[in-house]
């Protein structure tokens, strides 16, 4: 445990170093940018407003960022959040605490535009269950280990992103986006674990603009690695765990002793691409985009003899249309359809115990499970304009989601169909000078349309099914209402430049319709805009 803390502290120092470097860059950039730009003040509301009006910013194509004509902006956020309540999945904490900060900014350099962001989060989850070895059980990886010991998790993550766009010729632009994410986590009770995760995502792109019409192409490559190591602090007591293969199927194993479960190594690669088309008229503009990616990720348990625990291959596609219209008052309509098809591959292996060989040999591989998730969403947002901010904004959103998971043999299935309907609004109250208070409220209703879970595996009475899979399924199946509110205060630091300071607070309350649980999310933050 000491080593884990020491290691995490060292990482924290590293994160702060990187955060400092990014901030220094942004501060340095601010001076240069302010000299050459109109001195319109940045505030959280103005940043929201300019992003809502941007078409290309929200796509993977960074080459066409210059077409959005985004001004210089940057902000720095510090956040403290808490979650509490029983309405949650088992892997979530009864109580959770998050401390984080993030910074983001963009500016024009010559004829190009660059954007960057950095985020650091430090999270403590109290009272989690049925997650021994992964930082995010919902990231699309069915092969991981669970146990029934109530435990805390400590997690840290940081992410660096950048986008850059530069004209190649007058109407051809090149761009690149890079995202780097590193996470570390440690489960605190035996069987405990230490998890390291990293991913890097590179998206080079090109865009062509002819009059009102623009088109773009982007390709994507992502590499991710995760290492999950399980140990016991009490070496005299071995711990039973269960290695999941999907929908409650899997096998039992032990952490500790001679037969201890080995390190799980995850190695994934993703290739993908997308295309975009946009039209910009006098009072309206639109962008139509589509993208596709193909991921393969192998999971290997690696003590002295590596053994394949499974693999996944995932086909993701998404198509989206965004229409922005209005001049002084801005309306934005987003329609989006996405589909994820993930196949879980398992291997039949036999141990070649020859004296000089002694390794696992794969005899057969097949797709044993499929996980499909589809989303169709429609969002409308209206911004009543006021200078470079909004006076008030209102929005509505509807999302239809269906997830259909099947374990082929022995047959198990989980199907959940939900409809989400939400409304939201914010009002920007001007105060004296350059100060504002923004008050927001939102309401979301999740209506479950269908929910079925059938387990046909070997042990329907095991705690994996009764205490883990079934309660989590009921969580996914429940309808709920969420009501949220937010309050923020912003004031400029000086009337002569863009800098300002803000504080904010928000509260979300989840109440399922069929059970007596609830969940509350509370956050406080402050920050600066430049």
């Amino acid at each position: 445990m000491f080593n884990t803390i020491k290691s995490m502290k060292m990482r924290l120092v590293k994160y702060i170093y990187w955060a400092g470097a990014v901030l220094m860059t942004l501060f340095a950039a601010q001076t240069a940018a302010a000299q050459g730009s109109g001195a319109t003040m940045n505030s959280p509301a103005s940043i929201e407003y300019l992003k809502a009006g941007a078409l290309w910013f929200n796509t993977d194509n960074s080459a066409a960022l210059v077409l959005d004509k985004l001004p210089y902006y940057s902000d720095l956020n510090f956040i403290y959040g808490r979650k509490a309540g029983d309405y949650k999945m088992k892997y979530e904490g009864d109580r959770e605490r998050l401390i984080g900060f993030s910074t983001e900014g963009g500016l024009s350099i010559g004829k190009g535009y660059v954007w960057g962001s950095f985020r650091y989060d430090n999270e403590v989850q109290r009272g989690t269950l049925y997650n021994t070895t992964v930082l995010d059980p919902l990231r699309g990886m069915p092969y991981y280990t669970v146990d029934s010991q109530l435990s805390d998790w400590y997690k840290q993550s940081y992410g660096l992103s950048m986008k850059a766009s530069t004209p190649l010729w007058s109407n051809v632009m090149l761009g690149i986006e890079c995202d780097y994410s590193a996470k570390v986590g440690a489960k605190q009770i035996d069987p405990r674990s230490k998890v390291d995760y990293y991913s890097i995502n590179v998206k080079p792109s090109i865009a062509v603009s002819l009059g009102n019409h623009s088109a773009g192409l982007v390709v994507q490559y992502q590499n991710l690695k995760q290492e999950s190591q399980t140990t016991n602090s009490d070496s005299q007591t071995n711990q039973d765990v269960f290695v999941l293969t999907g929908l409650g199927n899997g096998y039992t194993a032990v952490v500790g002793g001679l037969q201890s479960l080995g390190i799980f190594l995850y190695d994934g690669n993703t290739l993908g691409g997308g295309c975009q088309y946009s039209y910009t008229g006098e009072s309206a503009k639109l962008i139509l985009s589509g993208k596709y990616s193909y991921r393969v990720e192998d999971v290997t348990s690696a003590p002295s003899k590596p053994k394949k625990e499974g693999s996944v291959k995932e086909n993701d596609m998404e198509t989206a249309l965004a229409v922005v219209f209005g001049n002084e008052n801005l309306s934005r309509v987003d329609v989006q359809f996405s589909k994820k098809d993930l196949s879980g591959i398992e291997y039949v292996q036999i141990l070649d115990n020859s004296y000089l060989v002694q390794r696992w040999i794969t005899l057969f591989s097949s797709i044993r499970s499929t996980f499909t998730d589809q989303d169709l969403s429609l969002r409308y947002n209206f911004f009543r304009g006021a200078e470079n901010e909004y006076k008030w904004r209102a929005g509505a959103a509807v999302t239809y989601n269906i997830s259909d998971d099947i374990y082929k043999i022995p047959y198990s299935a989980m199907k959940v169909e939900n409809l989400y309907m939400g409304i939201n609004g914010k009002y920007n109250f001007p105060l004296r000078g350059m100060s504002r208070i923004v008050v927001g409220a939102d309401y979301l209703y999740k209506n479950n349309l269908k929910g079925e879970y059938t387990y046909g595996g070997a042990e329907p009475e095991s705690h994996i099914i009764t205490d883990f899979m079934t309660p989590d399924f009921l969580y996914l199946k429940n309808s709920y209402s969420k009501i949220g509110g937010s309050l923020s205060y912003f004031t400029s630091v000086s009337g002569e430049n863009k800098a300002g300071i803000f504080i904010k607070a928000s509260l979300d309350y989840y109440k399922p319709t069929e059970i007596d649980d609830n969940r509350t999310l509370l956050s406080f933050g402050f920050g600066f805009t430049f």
């Binding site: 393969v296 192998d298 003899k305 036999i350 591989s365 097949s366 797709i367 082929k408 022995p410």
Partner: protein
């Protein structure tokens, strides 16, 4: 400088892309799983034993906890459908009584990969008369203390007279074989092909040779690691067993918690690195009982190729009974025990569960004497018991146990 960086980065990029392409191509052709069929043919090698009409055929995929049962006629083949691709243990078994003897018929094929359709599997069935002495119940996994700690001094081994005649356990040995636990690292033994005719013991404990220890039909002896009342406050109040009435214990020397109890001390015939008691692994050892050929000489040990550990080899022909125990069902394919002694393996499925493995009841005689299954396949013969109980089902203690 920039050129040098590019030169360095290019090979790195090339390696990453090549690795990705290999990973993608490896997985591209993998298709959805389909259930398979296989044909199992029984070959009978029964010697003088009579032939039963039908055999119970069992295909077990331990890692999937998936089992298929069929009935097959003697000397015929049967097609089995709905097989999940995987590694299987295929067993055929039957039994028959004739001329006052009970014959067990068993045959097995272990670690059979069924990954393609219509695979042919041959199983040779052999016959044997039921053994007289057998390991009836073994409690090996230990128990939890009230504070959640682990307690492992309460292990016991029950040996039962399953026959119609009096058996003498004088000089009987119990041993755990190498490797200690189910493992992928099986040792290689010297001696070439002849090495396969022996099992290799890590420790051997022997019933004293000082006098006869008769065991009537339906009687059993308890060999305790420590023949004490384990429910005592200074031991483990949560322990499921009181072993004060055990006939034998594997006592080495006294410590703060270990005392010399009323049970007869067994003779430590072979144990190169003894500890105060014979603690066998709570993950499950592979056990044998046998009568040795003469005196066991600890200096007459053998070591695996390339290793220095000391082991005592015992001819398979001398083994009276054998049981292979493992930590969990996935480890059954890591078999240590020769299949001729135990075609399967069994487990309580974890550690410190306060559970035992016990033989299934085959029949109850008119005098309430119980006959237990002994098909030389512990996967078939055993079941998990909670709590462990000594002399379950009315087994009697021998008359010479005056402290029971």
């Amino acid at each position: 400088m920039k050129s040098k960086i590019k030169i360095l980065l290019l090979p790195v990029l090339a390696v990453i892309i090549a690795t990705s392409c290999k990973q993608f191509s490896d997985i591209a052709e993998i298709r959805e799983v389909e259930p398979l069929s296989a044909t199992v043919t029984l070959t009978l090698n029964l010697g003088e034993a009579p032939s039963p009409q039908d055999f119970n055929l069992k295909l077990i995929n331990y890692s999937e906890r998936y089992e298929i049962n069929k009935s097959v006629s003697a000397g015929s083949s049967v097609t089995v459908d709905n097989i999940i691709p995987g590694i299987y243990t295929v067993t055929a078994s039957s039994e028959m009584s004739q001329d006052g003897f009970t014959y067990n018929y068993s045959g097995s094929a272990v670690n059979i990969d069924i990954v393609e359709n219509n695979k042919n599997i041959d199983v040779t069935v052999e016959a044997s008369k039921s053994g007289a002495l057998l390991l009836k119940e073994i409690y090996y996994c230990g128990s939890r203390t009230p504070t959640g700690g682990s307690y492992f001094r309460d292990q016991f081994y029950e040996i039962y007279n399953n026959s119609e005649t009096v058996q003498n356990v004088r000089g009987l040995c119990i041993a755990n074989i190498n490797p200690l636990t189910a493992t992928a690292n099986l040792p290689v033994w010297p001696g070439g092909e002849d090495a396969a005719n022996y099992i290799y013991c890590l420790a051997i404990w022997q019933v004293p040779n000082d006098k006869d220890y008769p065991l009537n039909p339906g009687e059993s002896i308890i060999i305790a690691q420590m023949a004490d009342d384990h429910k005592k406050p200074n031991l483990n109040p949560n322990c499921p067993v009181n072993l004060l009435s055990a006939e034998f214990e594997t006592y080495v020397n006294t410590t703060a918690v270990i005392s010399d109890n009323p049970a007869i001390n067994m003779v430590m015939a072979f144990w190169p690195s003894p500890t105060p008691q014979w603690l066998t692994t709570v993950f499950g050892s592979a056990f044998v009982i046998f009568f040795p050929e003469g005196t066991i000489d600890p200096n007459n040990y053998v070591s695996p190729v390339g290793l220095s550990s000391k082991n005592f080899k015992v001819p398979i022909a001398n083994i009276v009974d054998a049981v292979e125990l493992v930590g969990n069902p996935n480890q059954i394919q890591l078999k240590r025990m020769p299949t001729v002694l135990d075609a399967g393996a069994f487990t309580v499925g974890g550690t410190y569960r306060g559970e035992s493995v016990a033989r299934k009841v085959k029949e109850v005689k008119e005098n309430s004497r119980v006959i237990y299954y002994d098909t030389n396949n512990s996967s078939n013969d055993f079941e998990v018991m909670n709590p462990p109980v000594i002399r379950r089902n009315g087994a009697l203690a021998p008359s010479w146990n005056t402290w029971k």
